[in-house]
Symmetry: C2
Subunit: 151 residues, 2 copies
């Protein structure tokens, strides 16, 4: 499995991280070094990683963290709606932050995932969902095709 796809490094941005911690506390969970490490990995680095990548990165922050703990944290955060597993070229799970929307261009050839910020569908989406009696919390828009380099 490709362990480090992107090296784009986003600055810590502690605001959102504290928000996560806040939500953990509010839900009655303890703030532990292990959870903070996983949270920090998800928060700071990249856009999407699989459990193995999270474990590796978390170990850099907290060397004695175990894989089981990472899985448990990932599951907890998913249940709390902090993160979300998404698809990827192969069947391996990939986690992203759940907040707001995510918009990716996924290359069917080189499997690259290109993020883009502009949300092209927010209003329409909102309207449609409400018509179905659905309360929208976040969304994921993935567009598959060929990236400029692979055409």
């Amino acid at each position: 499995m490709n362990a480090n796809r992107s090296s784009q490094y986003v600055a810590p941005h502690s605001g959102a991280q504290n928000n996560y911690i806040q939500r953990l506390k509010e839900a009655g969970y303890k703030i532990t070094p292990a959870r903070l490490a996983v949270l920090q990995v998800i928060e700071n680095q990249l856009g999407h990683l699989n459990p193995a990548q999270v474990l590796q990165a978390a170990k850099a922050l907290n060397p004695q963290i175990g894989r089981a703990t990472v899985y448990r944290a990932l599951e907890l955060f998913t249940v709390l709606g902090l993160i979300r597993p998404i698809s990827c070229g192969d069947g391996a799970p990939l986690y992203i932050r759940a907040e707001g929307g995510h918009h990716h261009l996924v290359c069917n050839s080189c499997n690259a995932i290109i993020d883009f910020d502009e949300c092209v569908a927010e209003p329409l989406m909102q309207q449609l969902a409400e018509r179905k009696g659905f309360q929208v919390q976040s969304h994921l828009l993935e567009i598959y095709g060929l990236c400029a380099a692979c055409r």
Copy 2:
């Protein structure tokens, strides 16, 4: 794992199936009973299933099919762009037809997946993708939140 979510049965609709077969042939692969079974499962039934579900359903059509064959077929079809793995509540892989677009409302509470047909973003999507030099082939729009029943 919930093995049979939907029992909605769509009539064979041989046109599209033949199209799949066509594409298999064109790519130089043999048309075998095992592949036909998997193809038929994906074609006819439901909207999304995991490998175990595909295996189970394929066995109904072809009792002696083995799991390895299902995995191999799933991988082949994915590479050929016939199907695509998507996310789901837990990390388990779920396959859908790759053609065109898919639009789901995913309930964060009961994990139900509600399909909807109207594509709310096609034009915007197209435009955006082209601006990035990306050639669009298909897309997946998942909206997460709470379904009417869970609110």
